[in-house]
């Protein structure tokens, strides 16, 4: 019996398509050393996605991390990039915390020690390198090191909406800007689009990709398409950890799940399609929100385009896409939700600041009063006092 069980498990481990095989997938699940984080649970049975090379150790894992997350970190002007820590002058710091490896702080399969953002270091790990921060920033004296990462304060990787000079530029922003308006997509003429879509016989992913390469790239990098990108069957709401509608449990997610043929109506894709599956508290509250009221008015033609706020406005926002090879700039929909999801401050620049001031946005996302702007204001006052 032991030999049979061993053989079953070994087969599940070694067979390439075991993750999607109804017989072998349970064995792979048994082999998981612990519950995965919410960021990876969809692909947790595709072991080879992260453990691509046997016995490659932490460096092997590092390559896997970078292959999915590297470009995003670079685009985010990562505050703690690898190159910062390969400098020999940081050798002493590396002995305390090897920041050259993602797995130093993000160990998978360790739910007992996993904090927000999949961090598996103690919450006060900033202390290792920034113990003397109060010398340069007296305002930080007495602050606990497990509060550095608090909402609206500092992030380890992405501080594009949080750095001091950026806060300083937005000290006097009003809660609502005088002309709140979201970006509009760069589109072809409606007739051209209708004709192009009418020529599609079967709206498959590959057919969509012919014209929507960037959107497909985002979809595959995000939570809706990451299983497909990992070579697995399509994600279904039934596999999600968030609350979903039971009647949508078996819907396999592809482009046409939200962009239904033959209309491919982006307005439906922006709210109706989301609420066709998502049934968590946040999603269900949307239709009672001020954002939704604006969205309804925009659909009714009572407000100009870009005035309404849909689910997609925040979670799949329209962003500027630059093609360096062609030298072009277009506004496209970012189909990778992770780009604006967590930490929530990632949403501020591409989304919130189109309509709201920075202070309001920080407070709203943190669900509390964030002191950062006050601290910057005070720092400027103190500096002026010192300057003769």
């Amino acid at each position: 019996l032991s030999v049979a069980i061993g053989g079953y498990l070994a087969t599940a481990l070694l067979v390439k398509d075991a993750a999607d095989d109804p017989l072998l997938a349970p064995a792979r699940a048994m082999l998981l050393p612990g519950k995965t984080t919410h960021g990876h649970h969809q692909i947790e049975l595709a072991c080879e996605g992260c453990h691509a090379t046997p016995f490659a150790g932490k460096q092997g894992l590092q390559s896997a991390c970078e292959s999915c997350h590297g470009a995003q970190l670079k685009a985010a002007d990562d505050t703690h990039p690898l190159r910062k820590f390969t400098d020999p002058r940081n050798a002493e710091r590396l002995e305390k915390l090897d920041a050259t490896l993602c797995v130093t702080c993000h160990v998978e399969h360790r739910p007992g020690i996993t904090l927000a953002m999949g961090v598996t270091q103690p919450g006060d790990f900033c202390f290792q390198c920034h113990a003397e921060v109060a010398k340069d920033r007296p305002s930080h004296a007495g602050m606990r090191f497990d509060t550095c990462n608090s909402a609206g304060c500092h992030k380890y990787h992405d501080n594009r909406a949080l750095y001091e000079d950026f806060l300083a530029k937005h000290l006097d922003d009003p809660p609502l800007l005088s002309a709140p308006r979201l970006r509009l997509r760069t589109t072809k003429k409606p007739r051209e689009m209708r004709e192009a879509h009418a020529r599609i016989e079967r709206p498959t992913e590959s057919a969509c990709r012919e014209c929507h390469e960037q959107e497909a790239k985002g979809f595959l990098a995000g939570k809706h398409g990451m299983r497909l990108a990992a070579g697995l069957s399509a994600m279904t709401p039934g596999q999600a950890r968030l609350a979903m509608r039971k009647d949508a449990a078996h819907e396999a997610l592809g482009c046409v799940s939200c962009h239904t043929a033959p209309e491919f109506d982006t307005r439906k894709a922006a709210v109706e399609a989301c609420l066709g599956c998502h049934a968590d508290e946040h999603s269900l509250a949307f239709e009672r929100s001020g954002h939704h009221a604006l969205w309804k008015k925009e659909l009714a033609g009572e407000l100009p385009a870009g005035s309404g706020v849909s689910c997609a406005s925040c979670h799949m926002p329209r962003i500027e896409h630059r093609d360096e090879d062609l030298g072009t700039r277009r506004t496209l929909v970012q189909h990778n939700q992770s780009e604006t999801l967590e930490p929530s401050e990632k949403m501020i620049r591409p989304v919130c600041l189109n309509c709201h001031g920075l202070g309001f946005s920080l407070d709203a996302l943190a669900k509390r009063r964030v002191e950062s702007l006050d601290m910057v204001r005070q720092r400027f006052i103190d500096r002026e006092r010192k300057t003769p």
Partner: protein
């Protein structure tokens, strides 16, 4: 700048196998390239366009401000790209009066070197030091204010610890480290 540095580095490394280039000679050669490129960017790009012709500004937040990268940033970006190539050597721009505290001297050799080149800018400082488990040949060269743009930006910066730099004066030092065999 990055390409010429990488080229100089590869020449220096490859010739060390056959021509026995000393650590000092290699560090001096690398510094000659760095100093020249840095001076050209500061004078021909930043000082000309920002200070003289007033066409475009240079800004620490050049991406947000749609401005030129600061000379110190150009230098750092180059050093970071070289670091990614894993050629072994590394370099950085440090100062006794850094605007960014991370660019203050940290090791004993850095402190000693920056003090030495501030006193005698014409003379480079050389020392062997061990960081982590690796022994390095560390060279420090004076980094001087080569244009009015250096002086005005540093003296006027909100975080500067020194507001009276003058043209030609030493503002910091280029630190080059080569792992020793």
């Amino acid at each position: 700048m990055k390409r010429s540095l990488a080229f100089a580095a590869s020449i220096a490394f490859s010739t060390s196998c056959v021509a026995q280039v000393s650590y000092k000679e290699m560090a001096d050669a690398l510094h000659a390239v760095m100093e020249s490129d840095r001076t050209v960017y500061t004078r021909v790009i930043v000082n000309r366009l920002q200070n003289e012709e007033k066409v475009i500004k240079a800004s620490e937040h050049w991406k947000d401000d749609k401005a030129l990268a600061l000379p110190a940033q150009m230098f750092r970006y180059g050093s970071e790209m070289v670091a990614e190539k894993r050629l072994g050597f590394s370099y950085s721009l440090l100062s006794i009066w850094p605007i960014n505290r991370q660019n203050a001297a940290k090791t004993a050799a850095e402190k000693e070197g920056l003090e030495a080149v501030a006193k005698d800018p014409a003379k480079a400082f050389y020392k062997e030091e061990t960081l982590g488990k690796t022994k390095y040949f560390t060279a420090v060269y004076a980094d001087r204010a080569v244009s009015p743009a250096c002086v005005s930006c540093h003296n006027d910066h909100k975080d500067t610890p020194k507001k009276d730099f003058k043209l030609g004066q030493t503002m910091g030092g280029v630190v080059i480290r080569i792992p020793m065999k």
